[in-house]
């Protein structure tokens, strides 16, 4: 698992359409922000989908694709420029850290840190998105 540190996602682009900003903002309980501003909490799915992967692919990559539990340690989003609708963002990123916690007889906790950078079309940095997920394994998988 530690060998996954340094893994790079394919990279890609993402454009937030008005309809998804409208529906997402509504789901959070507010009106769509004015003037084409996209809700900042789009960062989660813009980062994952825009960098050319998916939640399913990440789970498969780190060995949680069998439905074994995943929990969230933290999200850390740095926003340098407001997210906007109808801008084609450029994304790159990968797995930057791994930590295994294991105690005798207890499930193993594999913690991966994912970091994704989001730039606008002029290469201006818009956001740095980091998140760390705990992937839980049965104790007998300690040798993987």
């Amino acid at each position: 698992m530690a060998a996954l540190v340094g893994h790079r996602f394919p990279g890609g682009t993402y454009r937030i359409e008005h309809w998804e900003n409208f529906l997402f903002s509504e789901a959070t309980g507010i009106d769509t922000p004015a003037d084409g501003i996209a809700h900042p909490a789009h960062l989660f799915h813009v980062a994952i989908n825009g960098v050319g992967t998916s939640i399913t692919e990440i789970f498969d990559l780190v060995g949680s694709g069998d439905g074994s539990p995943v929990s969230i340690d933290y999200y850390d989003w740095q926003i340098h420029q407001p997210l906007r609708e109808d801008v084609t963002y450029v994304l790159r990123g990968g797995i930057t850290a791994f930590e295994r916690s294991a105690r005798d007889g207890s499930p193993i906790r594999d913690s991966f840190t994912y970091e994704i950078q989001i730039d606008d079309p002029s290469a201006l940095r818009v956001a740095d998105v980091a998140f760390r997920w705990h992937h839980w394994r049965p104790a007998e998988e300690a040798t993987r």
């Binding site: 789901a27 309980g29 900042p40």
Partner: protein, 138 residues
């Protein structure tokens, strides 16, 4: 906009977390995780068949509070952990308090402790937000 350390941010309340909103967000996120739509799965996990809200949605409630307080482009950074899930039917309220104020790039930045609290007082999200405050216009 002037704020002081210890000042409370006006809260944002989500009166009732609903499956319909979770489904909308799951579709937008392309998130197939069944805890957001399959009651058999959440029953097996010990949540009595109640669906679990997406954590970015929980984060969004806090961001909504901050945007209502300081404007739609105010959030410069937010870092949060999620000690307890938010479940279908929960009522949750985002809270915040100014922890520090500094001048940053010519503007004023408020560092705020933020949290999301369930109806029974359990905190589902705890974190910190860095918020750019709008300049005074007077």
């Amino acid at each position: 906009m002037k704020v002081a350390v210890g000042e409370a941010i006006p809260p944002f309340r989500m009166e009732r977390v609903t499956p319909e909103r979770m489904r909308t967000v799951a579709a937008i996120f392309r998130d197939p995780t069944p805890i957001h739509w399959d009651r058999d799965v959440t029953r097996a996990l010990g949540f009595d068949g109640r669906l679990l809200n997406q954590t970015p949605l929980n984060m969004a409630y806090v961001i909504n509070m901050l945007m209502a307080w300081a404007g739609p482009t105010c959030v410069r950074r937010i870092r949060a952990a999620f000690p307890q899930p938010v479940l279908e039917g929960d009522s949750v309220t985002a809270h915040g308090e100014v922890a520090a104020v500094s001048v940053h790039d010519g503007g004023t930045l408020a560092v705020c402790d933020v949290w999301l609290e369930r109806q029974d007082g359990v905190r589902n999200l705890v974190g910190r937000a860095w918020v750019a405050l709008p300049a005074d216009t007077d």
